[in-house]
């Protein structure tokens, strides 16, 4: 899966160190990745836009800086893929929607500024479900991304392009946005690490909004250590985002080797109990639940205190989410009206022009959610839908805060199933159910990480999710590193089952 043996291979940590030391050339590393994209992305379609020239120029600048003895950042020469809802100055930003056709942002997202300041080299913008609405990348206006591990299956979504790019080694790091699981679920389905940080830990400035109170930027990586380095690079207060946390960022890379001894770990019974597997339309794959329990055993063996914990509101989150996220989206996406930028369709008057532009510019799922959200906020329905969803959200925050007084971290599957074939979840509700384990962290604003842990159906990777309280990214990294090590040692899969 990874190209560790290739001349340009290695982790972000290794590449950055070698480039900074002058042992390896950023240009050569970037060229090798560009070559792999040129050879393989026709099939995978991880990228909407590849910025080869820009990437080579940036890589050359890194090499020059190294040659001149100037300081380079912690990601010097590391190829990075950005989800195409990150604003990039001078580079089209489409959100995989026709409605942004031709729009080129005049500014970089804060996360992009920080990555480039750290020496990272952006190689391209990756495919996503239109405006990040979906769990399979099938909702892209530019066609789906294929899972590099099995091209007949989805890579997950909505950040499917970034997950696939990292899995296929088109880039060493990927970045995505997670509104209801859009980093963690594709990470699980593509067999990579994906982190959804604490809400407000990473600036949202320059991330095209889907649901402002839920959106959060985070990394994809092929190792927990790389994910930690990537997260540390983009985290920290930004005065351009009012919801950015004022707290000084605490680096997570130094927590990787802390181990899990004494950590209190709760396995969320609502997401793992056998009797809950088959309800509400989306049965959990038994292997997925088994890997989660196995992960709990691994942690217990390493000295963590593990038991089961029930969080009754956790599953109610799904319904609340599908009121709140569309409500915010209906407002956030109003600006795509054909007046100032993007695609415009002719109309007899302003209202007709706006209607025609939006009708032609948005895909079905986006329209569905705009309608849902508009309805949820309407006079006479507000209290019953949006208001009630907000009350559920408040209850969930209280319940999780209470649970986190007794547990340092929680454990659950990331996704109910491994990567599924294209078209397998054409019914929107079945697709929505895919987010049942990931949504609670978005509603509560807490961080969560998905780490590959063994395999399930067809030998495809399973992701285990580690959840924690506000700003517990350091603890999540500790646990994820322990699971990563155990999986590498063959401790994730039961003997006798198929392994890839």
């Amino acid at each position: 899966m990874t190209a560790a043996g290739a001349a340009d291979g290695g982790s972000a940590v290794e590449i950055a160190a070698a480039v900074a030391a002058g042992d390896r050339s950023a240009v050569e590393i970037v060229d090798a990745h560009l070559a792999r994209i040129a050879a393989g992305d026709g099939e995978i379609h991880a990228f909407n836009t590849v910025v080869a020239d820009r990437a080579r120029e940036r890589a050359a600048a890194v090499d020059r800086a190294v040659a001149a003895g100037e300081p380079v950042g912690p990601l010097a020469g590391v190829p990075v893929a950005l989800k195409d809802n990150f604003c990039t100055r001078g580079v089209p930003t489409t959100c995989s929607s026709r409605i942004l056709d031709g729009w080129v942002p005049p500014y970089d997202a804060t996360a992009v500024e920080r990555l480039e300041a750290a020496g990272a080299v952006v190689v391209g913008k990756t495919n996503l479900d239109e405006f990040a609405m979906g769990s399979s990348t099938e909702n892209s206006a530019f066609g789906p991304t294929r899972n590099p591990l099995d091209v007949t299956r989805v890579p997950g979504g909505s950040s499917g392009g970034s997950a696939a790019a990292v899995a296929a080694d088109f880039a060493v790091l990927g970045f995505g946005s997670d509104t209801g699981g859009s980093i963690r679920q594709p990470a699980a389905l593509c067999g990579v690490v994906g982190l959804k940080p604490t809400y407000g830990a990473v600036s949202r400035y320059g991330l095209v909004a889907f649901a402002s109170s839920l959106d959060q930027i985070g990394p994809f990586a092929r190792s927990v250590a790389d994910a930690a380095l990537a997260y540390d690079t983009v985290a920290g207060h930004d005065p351009r985002d009012s919801t950015s946390l004022p707290d000084g960022h605490r680096p997570t890379v130094e927590r990787l080797t802390d181990g899990v001894e004494g950590l209190r770990v709760g396995v969320v019974s609502e997401m793992t109990a056998p009797e809950l597997r088959a309800d509400r339309g989306g049965a959990f794959e038994p292997a997925v639940i088994d890997r989660c329990h196995r992960a709990a055993d691994v942690l217990a063996d390493a000295g963590a205190k593990v038991d089961e914990v029930s969080i009754p509101t956790a599953v109610a989150g799904l319904a609340a989410y599908y009121m709140i996220a569309p409500a915010e989206a209906s407002s956030n996406l109003a600006r795509y009206d054909g007046v100032r930028y993007g695609a415009r369709q002719p109309g007899a008057n302003t209202a007709a022009m706006m209607t025609a532009s939006r009708t032609a510019g948005f895909g079905d799922e986006v329209k569905r959610r705009i309608m849902l959200g508009t309805y949820a906020l309407s006079a006479g329905y507000y209290d019953a839908f949006y208001g009630k969803a907000q009350r559920i959200r408040t209850l969930m925050i209280r319940e999780f805060d209470r649970v986190y007084q007794q547990y340092d971290v929680l454990l659950s599957p990331t996704s109910p199933c491994v990567a599924f074939p294209f078209g397998a979840k054409a019914d929107p509700l079945t697709m929505y159910y895919n987010d049942v384990c990931t949504i609670p962290s978005n509603l509560t604003g807490h961080p969560a990480i998905s780490v590959p842990f063994g395999t399930g159906e067809a030998g495809l990777p399973v992701g285990v999710q580690v959840l924690g309280p506000k700003l517990s990214e350091g603890e999540l990294m500790r646990v994820a590193a322990a699971l990563e090590a155990a999986a590498a040692a063959g401790g994730a899969d039961p003997t006798g089952e198929d392994t890839p």
Binding site: C95, A109, S212, S242, T243, V339, N349, A379
Partner: protein, 492 residues
């Protein structure tokens, strides 16, 4: 609060009857004022009037994808100043989105305040002492401006539209009065007083002609004294105080006419048409907007600390009514005091009065002779000296006016200017002998002055004053000449 408007009150502007007997108006005003900040409400773009279209803009106030609003602290401070000046409770507030599609609104929603406004429950005392309740004064962002190119200039049938976003995102305060106003004149004086306050505390430049102060009127009528609140209509597009009065009167008449015909108005937004002198419905009922307000998730609540509020209160400049009262307390007539405050020259007047100048004469000069540029930098002690020279008989009123103009222009003291202009005080003895000579030379005219009817007397008075002025090249004090004439006449 005033109770009932006189049943046959007349509009000073048009002279027609306001409402038929037994009806009264119920008026509430929504005043939008642009705040005098350097940058916009949520964007670093400059808050500046004019400029080439779409030059005072930034990705944030253009609502470009991915941008986020950040509250302008100065706008909050000015908002609190306004709240305190209007005796409001200043409270924790939340920004909400008001959702509707309109091309001059970059995000197709306006960030405003809905459930929790910065300021609530205030009051405004008008110049006549009546008090109008203030329901709330909340912060929001302004929209851009559309120009519809086509036959009618209206959006519905324009050939195309041009949009200028220079104004988009400019900080606004919306001040909502309670329905306490009862006639157009009172509504106008409410706006005048509110404007004076906003200007006095440096919160807004209050220029209606540039649109930095805009007024919408909520108008209904009811049987006089009934206390009920009937269906109201919101009148928009009122661009001057005169229009405000006309629009309110028109709308109230329309309501009475409907009720008298057995019908009733329906709640709607109407637009004032200045040329036709009437209001017209805005959107039809079927298109009635549902703004789908919800708390803006991109912003966090603003909770001004008591310490900050106290600081702003302590630094609050004196309000117009207090400034007027200060002059009146020192003997200035109310009308002159009001003008002095309006021209921001009450400080000068007050200082001159404190320095011994006659209060009435001082505010008269401010009212009549100082509506000029540079008046504000006049030296108060020089001004006092001038008034003292005049009241002491050293200068005539005409001379004082000329000297004052020179003072404003050159900054010199009045004595120097008077000497240079040859305005030497003519002493009364000299004037008396001059006058006696003229009387002797005009016996017929004198007889008509002493013995004629009022008309004759007035005419002849003019003749004698004119002769004296002619002989003194205008340097005599007309008032003194009149006194002397009257003395001579009554002495026989």
């Amino acid at each position: 609060m005033t109770t009932t408007a006189p049943a046959t009150a007349t509009d000073a502007g048009t002279g027609h009857e306001l409402l038929p007997d037994g009806w009264e108006m119920v008026i509430g005003l929504e005043v939008h004022a642009e705040l005098a900040t350097a940058s916009k409400m949520f964007s670093p773009a400059p808050n500046r009037f004019g400029g080439e279209p779409n030059t005072n803009v930034h990705p944030v106030c253009l609502g470009l994808p991915g941008t986020l609003p950040v509250v302008n602290g100065k706008a909050i401070e000015l908002g609190i100043r306004i709240g305190l000046a209007l005796d409001c409770t200043v409270q924790r507030c939340v920004f909400a989105r008001k959702n509707y599609f309109y091309p001059d609104m970059p995000k197709d929603y306006q960030i405003s305040q809905y459930e929790l406004a910065l300021n609530v429950d205030g009051r405004l005392e008008l110049a006549d002492g009546s008090v109008v309740g203030i329901e709330r004064a909340h912060l929001e962002e302004d929209t851009g401006k559309s120009t519809h190119i086509g036959d009618s200039g209206r959006i519905h049938d324009a050939g195309y539209s041009l949009v200028d976003y220079n104004r988009a995102g400019v900080p606004l305060i919306e001040i909502v009065s309670r329905p306490d106003l009862r006639d157009p004149e009172q509504a106008k004086s409410y706006v005048e007083e509110l404007r004076a306050i906003l200007v006095a505390i440096g919160a807004s430049d209050g220029k209606m002609e540039e649109g930095s102060l805009r007024v919408d009127a909520n108008v209904s009528v009811r049987p006089a004294g009934s206390g009920e609140l009937r269906t109201r209509c919101e009148i928009k597009n009122v661009n001057s105080l005169r229009s405000l009065g006309r629009a309110i009167t028109y709308e109230a008449r329309r309501h009475v006419d409907l009720y008298q015909a057995g019908d009733a108005p329906r709640q709607e937004t109407r637009h004032w048409d200045e040329e036709d002198g009437r209001t017209r419905p805005g959107r039809s009922k079927e298109e009635a907007e549902d703004y789908r307000y919800f708390d803006d998730p991109d912003l966090v609540p603003v909770d001004p600390s008591p310490g900050w509020i106290d600081e702003i209160r302590a630094a609050l400049p004196a309000l117009p009514r207090h400034r007027r009262q200060a002059l009146v307390d020192r003997g200035a007539p109310a009308a002159g005091a009001a003008l002095a405050v309006e021209r921001d020259l009450d400080g000068l007047a007050l200082a001159a009065i404190e320095a011994g100048a006659d209060a009435e004469r001082t505010v008269t000069h401010v009212a009549n002779n100082l509506a000029v540029e540079g008046a504000g930098s006049l030296d108060a002690s020089h001004f006092a000296d001038l008034v003292k020279l005049e009241t002491g008989g050293g200068l005539t009123a005409t001379q004082a006016k000329q000297v004052l103009a020179d003072m404003v222009e050159t900054g010199r003291d009045p004595a120097t200017i008077a000497a240079e202009k040859g305005f030497e005080a003519m002493d009364t003895d000299e004037l008396e002998s001059l006058l006696d000579g003229i009387i002797a030379d005009h016996p017929d005219e004198w007889a008509r002055f002493v013995g004629g009817d009022d008309g004759d007397r007035k005419k002849m008075q003019g003749v004698f004053v004119g002769q004296v002025m002619k002989a003194t090249r205008g340097q005599a004090d007309g008032k003194v000449v009149n006194q002397l004439l009257n003395q001579r006449a009554s002495a026989g």
